[in-house]
Amino acid sequence: MNTNTLVLNNIEYIFEDGQTILDVARQNRVQIPTLCYLDGVEATGGCNICVVELKGEKDLVRACCTKAENGMNVLTQSPVVVDARKKQLKALLESGNHNCSIGSSQGDSWTAFQMDSIRTEQTDALCPRWGDCELQNLAYEYQVQWNRDNLPETKFPKETVNPLIIRDFSRCIMCGRCVAACNDIQVNRAIRMPEPSDSQHVIAGKKDVALKDSDCVFCGECVQACPVGALLEKKSQYVCRPWEVEKIRTTCPYCGVGCQQQLHVKDGKILKVTGVEEGSPNKGRLCVKGRFGFDFIYSQERLTTPLIKENGVFREASWDEALDLVADKFKTIIAESGPDALAGVSCARSINEDSYQMQKLFRAVFKTNNIDHCART
């Protein structure tokens, strides 16, 4: 077997047939930034950020859609590369409402701008993705200077008519990630890139309708894929900034797929849920229930104390009182009618350890096998 090798920043790496320069770089932890590439989906090459230099070639190439070749000599951070990325980032930043006070300072306007942003944080003035935006991160990393004073007019109004997802076209960089997420990952085929005859923004439905009137099933995969502040979750916008949240990995409580979730928690409160990108089995994906079905735990209707029914109505009780009553009543029934006069149904939604305890209670304590759950439904 011949081994393929190429050189990235003067170090030689092995690669397999069919891999792109980006694949080889990622596999070997060599950073190449990109704003449009999405794992597991054919590269579109739309953002032009992943450009790299091939030694001896005049034109830069895009790492995401250039196949690795034997003997290639690739520079991922050369001055020309950095310069090209800077230019492209500047163009992206100036193309929309990226008013996020980041980048290299520009004298007076910087302070004024920052003050203004802080003052207005609770409004739309500062992007809700502030601090969690891939474009912003790159702008900072590459110290891009751009003209913040003349933000372009917003051509398309923000769409807020559905209960879960906000589409803010003013911040969309047309990278196409959401479209790939919807069509190639979740395969819901609800959104698409515009045809020349359409208005030039991401289109929902055949006829450019609101998400709620398209085939959208609100899985939120597009929101998770969006690198900027163009797609947002209504439930979590403005409630947290990334450095304030702790991420806790857990398993979805709904269906039997067992998707791995990342809970974004601030002060002991879950504010947002995303899919664990590398996690099995879902590889970052969630459905509408997994992503948006978490806030029932904060319902005011939660039971907060044991209840005992008296004369047909419930009254509050202490744990001791309620548990003593249950134990006494069960003891009486066992004494009078035997243990098989008790029966229990366990919960197919709760954790394993709860079911283990319940069957142990019935078998080892009450001495009956009358324990079941909705095993077959």
């Binding site: 919960c347 324990i371 759950h373």
Partner: protein
Amino acid sequence: MTNSFAEFTDARLIVVIGSNMTHAHPVAATFVKNAVQKGASLVVIDPRKHELVDFAKMHLQLNVGSDIALLNGIMHVLIKENLYDKEFVENKCTGFEALEKVVAQYPPQEAARISGVSEKMIIETARFLSSIKPAMVCYTLGITEHTCGKNNVMSVANLQMLLGNLGMKYGGVNPLRGQNNVQGACDMGALPNVFPGYQKVDDPNARKKFETAWQVENLPDKPGLMIPEMMHGLTDGKVRGFYIFGENLANTEPDMNKVAKELASAEFIVCQDLFLTETTHFAHVVLPAAAWSENDGTFTSSERRVSRVRTASQPPGQARPNWWIFKEIARRFGQEWTSSSAKDIWDNEFSVLAPAFGGIKYDRIENDGLQWPCPTLDHAGTPFLHRDGNFTHGKGIFMPAIWTPPAEVPDASYPYVLSTGRRLYHYHTRTQTGRCEGLNDLLGEETADISIEDATVLGIEQGEKIRVKSRRGEVCVTAKITPQVPKGMVWMAFHFTEGNSNWLTNSALDPFTMTAEYKACAVAVEKI
């Protein structure tokens, strides 16, 4: 599932029978759709033209409850045309003669008569299934929620054995479990006939083992009651104390009027839940429990993967973890259980007592979970079962089944068949999803889904309130006219109390599994 979700994307042929995956297991469905995009073939067998049909090469739109006849018909062709996997059948299976004899009674003509799928399609399907190997079969409750549920399951297994599609990657018999932890609750022994890890209660050795571990004597040796028997026991006083943990039986069990009577006749009901529900209404004591994100623990998914659940927030007020509540009751009976966390319970008790889980410990499932069987600490888990056709109990046994119709079929007074299931935006009786911002806006009421043809004949308009009634009850519900539903069928869900399909469903049971026939009963539809 014998196999894993990760295999879906690279499978070459996927057969989905009785499973509306895009609604009930949405993320699993995305992997099926990815497979099709990469060139795999999808065969959907379902009375409804649900979303996955858009991706299918073939859709066998069978009559509700005719699965066995259809599958037998397909197997008939496989055998008659010599298309089955002889080597697998000879070396890895027993009972072929019995199968041959039974499916001989289902030539395509007969299978077509019962199932409504054309002879030609049955023959084509058999030929197509035998042309690609391996194939995965996935099913859900469309198979199990019938009076012939067990036989349906057997028929699916027969087909996969006959095609030699078991014991390999991209193959297998794959039931997608409805609830996140049905698999786990079974594994834990929340079943009347087995201890944790499927060790039988009537096996003296198993009893001895658990008596020693739990430091008790005389564990009961007689298998206990299943839910329908328990419910019945409430009415005749055989069951006097009923402990319901987390289930909303009043709305999820078939024939809600009957269920209400049963629960109302109970002497003493304890409910342990997050909210007051239609079921706690009947309770004498209600115990407030911690929710999903309020305790550490594990869930076991359909693919037998044990994954961690972690604490992210504190339970409100005095709500406590369920395992703690059970332990406190045991203490009042004089038993001091030592485990004082979910981790203790798993690491020191369950995984020690259940051999197939012996290698799974909390410190091994910090990130991705492990799939059981995983007997030892150095075992990597089991992505697919019966490797190379080596079945757990020796050979794979063909269990041929005769088709039986649903317990209640349409007649002059109740001319439509009602089938039921779940919808995407809600989960079961909405005790949780109904309290999440946004989800009620996406689906705010129950509907009765009817075909365009029937709507035209009955003069029903989209969104009009109609009456649907069965021998057991009636509901007034919004009509949803949809091409997904075939003529003669009404399709409903059980997410809302008002318009809940279980006012209508039949409590007739599969005699082996005691699963009710949620998928088929007879109803009448009327304009109001």
